[in-house]
Amino acid sequence: MISQTFKEAVTAVWSMVVGLKVTGKNFLLPQITVHYPRQVVTNLDTYRGHIELVAKDENPFAARCIMCGQCENNCPSGCITIESVTREIPVETPKEPAPGEEAKPAPKPKKVKELTQFLLDYNLCSLCGLCVQHCPVDSLRFSRDVYLAGYSRGEFEFELLEMLKKRGKK
């Protein structure tokens, strides 16, 4: 009985020494943390950030979006708002869209729907990816913007079309 007790005590003390050995060994191993401002993570190829519009192959300033509303309707959080105008264009010259611009009713009724605004309220987004999945023309994709930070909610209300144009200029 007593020898058993002492044996247990010795095992117990030994287990503590083993614990110290483990932490001691780890003490000597190199650090594994990423020191954020100096180092950044690199595995962002598949990161799903906020969505962004994909430009047409031929025009980096225009989105592929056909304004079908799939993303807007399927968004569980209701964070996407698409605004578009229907314009009639007599000649096929791609024109910069201007909000509120209302073309005069032309005799030749070739109507073209044009995206004026693609609003994303990123505050509400739950990053499910349903919009990207169901976009029929692959006009949406995820950004790789992992270090996104701001001081107010307003900074996360994105106008994706504007962002697309900014990207196009670069």
Binding site: M16, G19, L20, T23, N26, F27, L28, L29, Q31, I32
Partner: protein, 331 residues
């Protein structure tokens, strides 16, 4: 200024020395407390494969000072319903006796505040005040967790003081003195001349009890944050908390200093004896205590007391008896 000189001459040299020692000790405790905070965080960091503090100053050395400034600058908030007097008395009572604990410790051959032949007794006596501080803190803050923490602190400290005392007593038996200077002097420079070789069990017991006395993990039950949120200092913020914090580190330094003197030959060391040996040994022990904290889970309260009454106390008794016999037989 002849008047002044006369006045100074009237002061006994012993008192001057004591006051000087107290001032020096204040600086020593302050600096070592800060250094220890840094060491603790660095050790914790590296054990967990993180860098620890590294932003403020080289290797984060300025970090503890910045933290101290932050703590000092904070508002002193008293919780509603607290006993204001006791509430603020507690951190002071926890911190102030610490200075007295260092006075009889010989840091070097002549570097000792007051060489009294009852040095170890003085330390043990004043170390007991810390319990009172924790008790008052727990009671005064009108917080249920605090009260539980205080209860634990008292039971724990009272229990662990006994084997601690007995372990120390064994060394005193062996050297025949209670004076720390003398105990140091009786040990040699090399490790095999230290008391730890003669009294390994006493050292083991002393060290466990010391960890428990200073409420360090795995015996940090009075503050056990996963059970009692923060235990006895739940409501303390700012420098009230800061003083408890500093007192904990200062207490660690005290117990490690005493261990150094009693078991590890104090300031004696190979090649060139001096205070640096003392500091090296002391810090080695401190690092071990810190290492404990970042390795072990916390024991349960009844297990803590069981360990004390069923293991440490009998063992220290046996050790003491054996020492007494050995001293009687061989000395």
């Amino acid at each position: 200024m002849p008047d002044m000189n006369a006045l100074l001459a009237g002061i006994p040299a012993e008192l001057t020395r004591l006051i000087l020692a107290l001032v020096a000790l204040m600086v020593f405790i302050g600096l070592n407390g800060l250094a220890l905070v840094w060491v603790e965080r660095k050790v914790a960091g590296h054990v967990q494969r993180r860098p620890g503090p590294y932003e403020v100053g080289p290797f984060g050395l300025i970090q503890p000072i910045v933290d101290a400034v932050k703590l000092v600058a904070k508002q002193l908030a008293t919780p509603a319903g607290a006993d204001k007097f006791l509430y603020w008395l507690a951190p002071l009572l926890s911190f102030l006796p610490i200075f007295l604990l260092f006075i009889p410790i010989p840091f070097s051959k002549n570097l000792v505040g007051l060489d009294t032949n009852l040095g170890i007794l003085l330390i043990l006596a004043f170390a007991g005040l810390n319990v009172l501080a924790l008790c008052l803190a727990g009671w005064g803050q009108n917080n249920k967790w605090g009260l539980l923490g205080a209860g634990r602190a008292v039971a724990q400290s009272v229990a662990y003081e006994i084997p601690l005392l007995l372990a120390v007593l064994a060394v005193s038996f062996q050297t025949g003195s209670l004076s720390l200077t003398e105990i140091t002097a009786k040990q040699g420079a090399w490790p095999w001349q230290w008391n730890i070789v003669v009294q390994p069990l006493a050292f083991f017991l002393y060290f466990i009890c010391a960890v428990a006395e200073t409420n360090r993990a795995p015996f940090d039950l009075p503050e056990a944050e996963s059970e009692l949120t923060a235990g006895f200092h739940t409501e303390y913020s700012g420098m009230g908390f800061g003083l408890f914090f500093l007192a904990e580190y200062a207490n660690m330094i005290v117990v490690c200093s005493v261990a150094t003197v009693l078991f590890l030959g104090g300031w004696q060391g190979p090649i060139e004896p001096g205070w640096w040996w003392f500091l090296i040994k002391m810090y080695a022990l401190l690092v071990v205590i810190i290492w404990f904290r970042w390795t072990y889970p916390r024991v349960r309260f009844d297990q803590l007391l069981n360990l004390n009454w069923k293991w440490l106390l009998p063992l220290s008794m046996v050790n003491l008896l054996a020492t007494a016999f050995a001293v009687k037989l061989f000395a």
